[in-house]
């Protein structure tokens, strides 16, 4: 094969290599700086439902993974003790009422007497006795309210729309007031956390359109950037003794960019996709003009 003249051959090669340099630079910028990450997670708010009153669980109304609506009863704490407490409070109220009525009658009778037949002191005593009886009555009334509330709270209800998850309560378990018994997934609160390298954050704006590809499904979800976390833990400065900084003196040569959580609000979920918190997602910030393209890095 006949060779072309030497300087043309050098020129062609140099031009192609220079073009490759430019292309490589573009490739590096696009691939390394474009705002996308494979490190995304589906997240959700978990509500830990705790009973407000203590007692054995007498009636479990939900199954594991069952869907619940706001106000649905999850389980019932044995109400027997709280019914008795209610009856007791009613009795105390009735007693307080009769005492109050008696004091009021006494006061009324004494008020009608002339100042010659009753001393000012005795009259004052009658008035005070009425006020005291009134206070006791109000107290008994409030106690009745508490007893009613406690009885109502033996029905433990769902505060959210969502699903029961990892149900570990059984009929007969003893429920302690304030100790969480049931984890509820708040179905209205799904979002995606994209853990972006800090170097990519400057290419991300609040409100940017986002395409979310779940590992589990082919069709992408759409969303937008809701917010960026304003703090992550400084791994090189664990709190030492005496509230003093404990800075790690080993500095690694090879190091990685920190990853900052970016909260992505989900706008649209294609039909047939069932989200579970913890799913892996690839998060791609898309071009505002073309949702099929990645957002180009800013200068």
């Amino acid at each position: 094969m006949q060779q072309a003249s030497s300087w043309i051959r050098v020129l062609v090669t140099v031009v192609v290599v220079a073009a490759a340099g430019v292309a490589g630079w573009y490739l590096w910028r696009t691939y390394e700086e474009s705002p996308w990450t494979r490190d995304g997670r589906v997240r959700v708010n978990i509500v830990m439902v705790a009973p407000d009153v203590a007692g054995a669980v007498t009636d479990l109304r939900v199954k594991d993974n069952q869907s619940v609506r706001i106000g649905d009863t999850l389980f019932t704490v044995d109400p027997a003790r709280y019914r008795l407490a209610l009856a007791q409070a009613e009795a105390v109220l009735a007693g307080a009422k009769s005492v109050l009525e008696q004091r009021q009658e006494e006061q009324l009778r004494r008020e009608r007497l002339s100042s010659a037949s009753i001393s000012e002191e005795a009259l004052n005593q009658a008035r005070t006795a009425t006020l005291s009886a009134q206070a006791s009555y109000d107290q008994a009334e409030a106690a009745l309210g508490v007893a009613k509330l406690n009885l109502a709270r033996t029905d433990v209800r769902s505060p959210v729309n969502g699903h029961v998850t990892n149900l570990l309560v059984h009929r007969g378990d003893y429920a302690t007031a304030g100790r969480p018994m049931v984890a509820l997934v708040d179905g209205d609160s799904f979002y995606v956390a994209g853990y972006f390298e800090e170097t990519k954050l400057r290419h991300i704006q609040i409100g940017d359109r986002v395409s979310i590809r779940l590992m589990a499904y082919g069709a992408p979800l759409t969303g937008h950037v809701d917010s960026v976390a304003r703090a992550i833990t400084d791994r090189d400065n664990a709190l030492g003794n005496d509230l003093i900084a404990n800075v790690n003196p080993t500095f690694s040569w090879v190091r990685l960019a920190q990853r900052i959580p970016v909260r992505i609000a989900i706008d649209d979920i294609p039909k047939g996709i069932v989200l579970s918190a913890g799913m892996t997602a690839t998060v791609v910030v898309t071009d505002p003009d073309d949702s099929n393209r990645i957002k180009p890095p800013v200068r």
């Binding site: 072309a4 051959r9 090669t13 192609v16 573009y26 393209r293």
Partner: protein, 65 residues
């Protein structure tokens, strides 16, 4: 659009797919260039080919990203 590569449950970065795709195109292109006799105008074929690969890869990424 950028997507992970799933190799029987092992998920790999998309760049690996771009590298492989560009390599296939590269072989085809080199064969064609050879047939057309383009290498008569080339001073340093391995350097030229490497540059060609980088450009192909960039074009591939630019087209699909």
């Amino acid at each position: 659009m950028i997507k992970e590569i799933n190799l029987d449950g092992i998920y790999l970065p998309p760049l690996l797919g771009y590298l492989a795709g560009a390599a296939v195109l590269w072989y085809v292109l080199r064969y064609l260039l050879n047939r057309l006799g383009v290498y008569r105008f080339v001073w340093h074929p391995p350097l030229f080919n490497t540059a060609l690969y980088v450009m192909l890869l960039s074009a591939f990424v630019a087209a699909t990203l």
